[in-house]
Amino acid sequence: MVAGIVSYGGYVPRYRITPKEIGNVWGVDGEAMGRSLGITAKSVPSPDEDVITISVEAARACLRKVDVAPTDIGAIYVGSESHPYAVKPTATVVAEAIGSTPVMTAADFEFACKAGTAAIQACMGLTLSDMIKYGMAVGSDTSQGAPGDALEFSASAGGAALLIGKENLIAEINHTVSYTTDTPDFWRREGQQYPSHGGRFTGEPAYFKHVMSCAKLLMEKAKSKPEDYNYAVFHQPNGKFPVKVGRTLGFEDKQLDAGMLVRSIGNTYSGAVLLGLCSILDRAVPGDRIFMVGYGSGAGSDAFDITVTSNIKKLKHAETIEEMTRDAKFLDYGTYAKFRGKLRMRGD
């Protein structure tokens, strides 16, 4: 018996800003920065959106596709590095909003950008041990870069939810492995509004080392090679890193393109690899095999070998990620700064 994905759903806020618009304010060539990062725009949450609202919308999108009683969901874990509360779980609001309370467990996870994939593994363990029938794993963020920092060009907002179980799977998770070390590449101290990062240090010893090592571990465990997969999706802090890591491992661009949402919506942090997976599942057909590797600073990677089943045809029709991201409204920097709380208001 394997655990796998019963349903999936994503949510991306409607607003966008371009690297050019950000660059205009800070006196840098934003278009060149966008080309360098491989990003044409990033999503921006409205003032009434945060990780809780994004997680609820993603969870509801996930449940709209299937006839699963919300009370059969025994665990909800929300992974994020931008939970609205320091103390009080995002997951309880999600649970209440989808009608899963009260006989269930809930908690918030934090592991930079990979808290959502950690939540998948926790749900797999609980379902495989028969402690619960279904678990919901959510990865969601509204992360920020400090004004003028390189991160400001990519840090965006979005999230995705996966319903994990053992029955009626639309995709089986054949294998999962993790690779974790203590690597200080990116962090945010308690009380700090913006994160800090180690500049170029965030590349080789952090992202590439962990993603590559974890990907190789997964292929060893699955006895597979890149050409065995129809799609591959890697954590995408920008448009360059996942392409570089994919090509280095031996994947072709055509395997990567479907999951590369970062190009049009930026880095959604805990939502990034899960939204990429949702975008792939939107177009996948039975038998397709998917290679997924998440990454979280601090640092670690979780990798998954996934095979799509014939049940994917039974999902109810719902808005695809591509359709959702078409509904975009572009902001000027002033409105973006207002929306993201970068202005000091009277009374602050």
Partner: protein, 142 residues
């Protein structure tokens, strides 16, 4: 809104739980303890009912002079919405330019932050409404 009141209203604010009179069948939102039509006859017969969240704009106004807690959102649209089950409610309309809102526009409920009790207080969430996808102007140019 005080925390205890918000907590009591979570079912209706998160999931549009209204009431149906077991005597005359009238739907009410927000939920009522007694049916305004049947009065005493409805006592003990009011049943909870989850509403669909799909409705139509009956009337609306555009708010330009907003309370300070809504400064970041102005100008914004407030509308009276008739849900397909018949109950009416008032809600903010989002994801649309105020000038594109029309009476008769089909809308659906979404989950948004409604407010907060100051910088250290609880965050309050609930329904707002957005146009049903595919109506009006092209979203990319809205």
């Amino acid at each position: 809104m005080a925390t205890p009141r918000f907590w009591r209203e979570i079912p209706s604010r998160y999931n549009l739980i209204g009431t149906k009179c077991g005597s005359c069948g009238t739907l009410d939102f927000p939920p009522r303890a007694v049916c305004p039509k049947c009065g005493r006859k409805s006592v003990g017969k009011m049943m909870k009912q989850k509403l669909s969240g799909i409705g139509t704009i009956i009337s609306y106004t555009i708010v330009y002079d907003a309370p300070s807690s809504f400064d970041l959102l102005k100008p914004y649209v407030l509308a009276v919405i008739e849900l397909k089950e018949g109950a009416r409610l008032t809600s903010q309309i989002i994801n649309v330019e105020p000038g594109d809102v029309k009476i008769g526009m089909r809308v659906e409920a979404v989950f948004r932050k409604l407010g907060q009790e100051g910088e250290a207080g609880i965050l309050q969430y609930g329904y707002k409404f957005k146009p049903v996808t595919g109506q009006g102007k092209s979203p990319a140019t809205a």
